[in-house]
Amino acid sequence: MADILLPPGTSPADFRSFLKSCEAAVGAEWVKSAPQDVLPYGHVAMPFDDDDHMPSAAICPSSIEEVKAVVAIANRLRVPLWPTSTGRNIGYGSSSVADRGTVVLDLRRMNRITDFDPELGTVVVEPGVTYHQLQEFIKTTGYDFWLDFPGPGPIVSPIGNTLERGHGVTPYGDHFAHSCGFEVLLSDGTLFRTGLGGVADTTSWQAFRYGYGPTLDGIFTQSNFGIVTKMGLWLMPAPAAHKTVIAHWPDPSDIVRLTDTVRGLRLDGTIQTEGVLGNAGIFLAATRRKAEVYDGPGAIPQEMAVAELKKMGLGAWNYVFTLYGRPDRVEADWQEARARLEAAGATLIPDAKDEQQINELTLKSFALFNWIGGGGLTWCAPVSPMRGTDMQRQLELARSITDRHGVDFMVGTAFGERAALNVMPLTYDRADKAQMARVRACYTEMVDAMAGAGFGMYRTSVGFMDQVASLHGQANLDINRRIKRALDPSGIIAPGKSGIRV
């Protein structure tokens, strides 16, 4: 096995033993160790070579019993496991692993919807359930509930996105905030439920998320303290009416007044959802190829992107949001939002459509990758408080860095009430190693520069987790390590996730 990639710290003999034991536990068919089966698990869009974060094998259990068996084997032989749901955290690392050689624990075959409560509007799902599957299930029930999903919704899972604390674009867009109750497997085989799930014959596991005593759900998100094998999820009752609007502003400097205006509309509940604010660059990339509009070196100049958007009837900033509720409420909110947005200099397009905001699954956001081609992507996602001056400071800092590295400046912002997640796709052609190196350098500089300006990250990709974690102070690193040592003393679950190791 000299040429075979091994899990970190694992001898060839132990790896062979691990694979053989896993075959007995889940069936030989579901132990993937041949290169043609394993290499696709290591495909990444982020600016690293696939080999940098390549797993050594993938194990695909189909039930909690099989997961427990695999974890027991891994614990005995000290083989690290990297749990994935659908493995489509694209741009954040997909199903690749932080520490090269870690074994992927592919939970896609665990795809059961185990509970549905039509009165409370809740479901319980396993990791492999996709939003498409869940939406099809809801249709069969005859009840009218909506889902909130991320951009790649049809082919990704509620558990995966929620555990990454992903966001969508409806009033249920904060996915973790709309989860309720986890079932978690620890590395020592302990299986437990958060919240009220531990109460015998519980009636309220999906109804009340806090339970009694410490609320633990959060420590299992963006972390490696356990494996979440089930999750409760709240469903959004279909609104009686809705209206999608695009508000656009002509100049990049309008970010100050638009942010301050939207903050007011979000805080008082006129606009119930984050929607998405896109700059000219990201709107252009969603509809055109770069080569069609710019053939110069480096990043497309901002003024050129804005000029192209103006030809499309849009602006330097474009805020797509939807109003939801009874028809009279939607109309009243529309009149209020219109007055305040127009007073802030916006031009409004009142009857737009964004499938993602109205429960229509789509992958149209994948068009972003047609901008350059070549499949390269990573998301740089700094958080800004919802103050216009902070938004401008952060975004101008970001653009100065992307311009310097010759990377196109794109941003899609999720507007919370008090925080904005400025999600910036850095796209490139993976076949062009120089481009990939520029994007990686750009990202690295961006993280440090944002931290230097007092801004943290909402999320990051597998390749940058150590860097981002290091910016939160030694005390933060230490407390995560202490929890890790308490719950997973052998460090077999996702070493390196969010920079956490034993």
């Binding site: 043609q36 951009g151 969603a286 068009a367 990758f369 081609g373």
Partner: protein, 109 residues
């Protein structure tokens, strides 16, 4: 107004499907658990033929082996579809279904 869905996600820029090797001998068709048109609607159809950069796969003479290989190995910007998601039998049936489909008629804009 053209719809713009931009918040998050990924890419599907499928490129070299037509250049992949084609095996002369078709493997035997095993029992498939799912209908190919349902698999198409749940996965491929969200992108191919409807998203810029993701070409229509039906009605272009795409070989069975090309579909299977790209689904399993991925392509720049296109996610991988592992056996844990689509069984070998289902994928094989899907690939044959795609190969036999006529070119879809696009509705007038």
């Amino acid at each position: 107004m053209k719809t713009l869905s931009l918040v998050a996600a990924a890419a599907l820029v499928v490129t070299p499907v037509l250049a992949l090797p084609v095996f002369a001998q078709k493997p035997p068709l095993k029992a498939s658990a799912h209908k190919p048109d349902a698999i198409w609607r749940a996965t491929c159809g969200y992108c191919h033929g409807s998203v810029p950069g993701a070409p229509e796969l039906r009605g272009i003479g795409l070989s069975e082996e090309a579909v299977v290989t790209v689904a399993r190995q991925g392509a720049p910007g296109m996610p991988v579809f592992h056996a844990s998601e689509i069984s070998d039998a289902d994928l094989r049936v899907l690939a044959r279904w795609i190969a036999k489909q006529p070119t879809p008629v696009k509705a007038a804009p």
